[in-house]
């Protein structure tokens, strides 16, 4: 795998160099010192709708080739951020550059660099599967001599070759999603924006999609994705930000976030819903942190088994007990709370 990755990197660097050389004022210009080459930089990025700040002064930079995730509950400002990066929504204030360009000033130029997978599929349902790719490629002024073989290649990539002549109507949800991803790749973008790419898909379809996204990452494509599936973020993202109410709550790699905001393991105990609430006092001092939920008690500890032994030693008999590794979900819930967001 590393071999493949290294084999794939040179063209991506070359193409970015080409891209940046033609623009003297590029913020993401490559430097001889080997400093990271940022394809996206946001400083104090803000979007207001009337009095409501959907995105409230967030800053981040994404180097080329990284898989960067935006995590957050509904209404956190993820999609709004994605729209601003995608050059389809104007920011209220702050700075934003994509490949060194301001999307508010150079919308078409910025969008020409991107592949976009929106939250809702917006395929041309009346056109055939392959025609969807051809038509979309035309928006980039690509000639048919390129588009026809490219469409076939992408259909292969999206495992839709058999469906090339079907109408989009006839595809399953997972197929439509894969076609949307194939469509977003028609212009060979170096940056791919994916807004909740696997929401609503069954596990098989999700795993196929993840596999395809991995391959793109191996080819050096920068992935920017939003998701509220924590396993997806852990699988795909090199680095992520947790966003809540338009602000960044935390930033880092999945592993570093778990280290920072959670313990290595979590012990889950169920004493029955009556007893869960009262047992807290008796568990005091076990592990590093205790969280009482209506259905279970969570003990955050470095060593879950040891914590469980301590629970037994105190003479407590939970109905069920489970020791598991801490996950990004623990971090997410700790940072954004457990109350429902509508």
């Amino acid at each position: 795998m590393p071999e493949l990755a290294s084999k794939q990197t040179p063209p991506s660097e070359a193409s970015q160099k080409d891209a940046t050389q033609s623009r003297p004022s590029s913020a993401g210009s490559p430097s001889a010192t080997g400093a990271p080459q940022y394809v996206i930089t946001a400083e104090n990025l803000t979007k207001r709708y009337g009095d409501v700040a959907a995105v409230d002064g967030i800053s981040f930079s994404v180097p080329a080739g990284e898989a960067f995730g935006l995590l957050g509950p509904n209404g956190a400002g993820k999609s709004t951020t994605m729209k601003m990066i995608g050059g389809v929504s104007q920011r209220t204030s702050g700075n934003l550059t994509i490949m060194g360009l301001d999307p508010d000033q150079n919308g078409p130029e910025v969008r020409a660099h991107l592949g976009v997978v929106p939250q809702q599929d917006n395929l041309d349902e009346e056109l055939k599967v392959r025609d969807n790719l051809l038509v979309y490629g035309r928006y980039f002024g690509l000639p048919m001599s390129y588009l026809k073989p490219k469409a076939d290649e992408l259909l292969e990539f999206a495992q839709l070759t058999d469906k090339a002549k079907s109408k989009v109507d006839a595809l399953s949800g997972g197929m439509k999603r894969r076609l949307t991803i194939a469509r977003s790749l028609i212009n060979e973008p170096r940056i791919l924006l994916l807004d909740e790419p696997t929401t609503g898909l069954d596990p098989q379809a999700r795993h196929i999609l993840w596999d395809r996204l991995f391959r793109l990452k191996e080819q050096g494509v920068t992935l920017i994705l939003t998701t509220h599936y924590m396993d997806e973020a852990e699988q795909l993202c090199d680095r992520l930000i947790v966003v809540d109410k338009g602000k960044i709550m935390a930033e880092g790699s999945p592993a570093s976030l778990i280290r920072e905001y959670s313990t290595r393991e979590v012990l889950e105990l169920r004493f029955g819903s009556e007893r869960n609430a009262t047992v807290g006092a008796e568990l005091e001092g076990i592990g590093e942190r205790l969280e009482t939920l209506p259905d279970r008690v969570l003990i955050y500890a470095h060593d879950g088994e040891a914590a469980l032994e301590e629970v037994s030693a105190r003479g407590l008999r939970p109905v069920t007990s489970l020791v598991r590794r801490s996950s990004l979900e623990d971090v997410f819930l700790r940072l954004t709370g457990r109350s429902l967001v509508d």
């Binding site: 917006n122 928006y139 073989p149």
Partner: protein
């Protein structure tokens, strides 16, 4: 050993797909800079191409509508009804047969009705139902180009449909003047002058409450009936004659009559028809552009 070789081969196969094969020259898209420059220049036509491809899906319907409607109307009105009408003096119709009198009106009305359909439901589909505008919106195209592309595509349809319609009219011998063909252009202009303001309205609708059905019933139908279509406008009482004056169908029809049988009217009035239709197009386009930018830009 063989298994290993097999695995390697399999790995090569799977990896060769995204990487491109070695024998064929690698498939490369032109640079984003080229994409953006091309889209800035030709974007509206790129989107028009998409709309026309979708229309091709119901191309047969378009042709049948183009042929079937004039045949039916010309038979029913121009031949059937005309046998009664023509027993009276043709003076009221400027000395021509009833068939010749109504043919331009039917041609113009058909274009306006097509425009009324093409500039309402597809726009709602673009913004709301299937959100088709948001695909190209993420590409280098601008909202303005998407709107213009749709207009270009509908213009093509109007030209094609009106040409077929006129062909049928000519076969019925209902366009004696050598300038009759130009009424195809007038029909297209009339369609746009009615369709563009309607497109602006359609683009402003956030929720579908059956507004378009109301437009068809309470705007398109009355205009069709009271625009000097089946009888000269001045036979109507003054109280309802204004419907004709504000109607693109009336202005278009009067122009069509001038062209197809040399209907006589003051030259100033002829100019007024053209100006009125063009003005509606301009106002409609400005409002449409504003709505599209507002809806897809914010």
């Amino acid at each position: 050993m063989t298994k290993k070789a097999e695995l390697t081969k399999k790995a090569e196969l799977t990896h060769s797909i995204p990487a491109g094969t070695t024998a064929v020259p690698a498939l490369r898209a032109h640079s984003p800079e080229v994409s953006a420059a091309k889209a800035r220049k030709w974007g509206a036509f790129y989107y028009a191409e998409q709309v026309l491809r979708v229309m091709k899906g119901y191309g047969w319907t378009i042709v049948m509508y183009g042929v079937g409607q004039p045949v039916a109307y010309l038979f029913a009105m121009g031949v059937g009804l005309a046998t009664l009408v023509d027993t009276n003096s043709t003076a009221a119709f400027g000395g021509v047969s009833y068939l010749v009198f109504i043919a331009p009106a039917l041609l113009i009305s058909a274009a306006v009705m097509t425009a009324a359909n093409e500039f309402t439901f597809p726009v709602m589909d673009g913004f709301k139902w299937r959100r088709v505008y948001y695909g190209p919106h993420a590409s280098p195209l601008t909202p303005e180009q998407i709107a213009l592309g749709q207009i270009i595509a509908v213009t093509v349809r109007l030209l094609l449909q009106s040409a077929i319609y006129f062909g049928v009219v000519a076969l019925f011998g209902a366009s004696p003047s050598p300038w009759g063909w130009a009424s195809v252009l007038v029909a297209t202009l009339a369609g746009l002058s009615f369709g563009l303001p309607l497109m602006a309205y359609a683009a402003s609708i956030k929720e579908d409450k059956g507004q378009f059905a109301m437009v068809m019933r309470f705007i398109v139908m009355p205009l069709f009936l009271f625009s000097g279509t089946f009888f000269p406008l001045d036979t109507l009482p003054l109280a309802v004659r204004w419907i004709g004056w504000i109607s693109p169908i009336w202005h278009g029809t009067e122009l069509g009559r001038v062209l197809s049988y040399g209907y006589e009217e003051p030259p100033l009035l002829t100019i007024a028809h053209v100006v009125f239709l063009l003005a509606l197009c301009v106002v409609g386009w400005v409002l449409t552009k504003r709505q599209f930018v507002k809806r897809m830009g914010g």
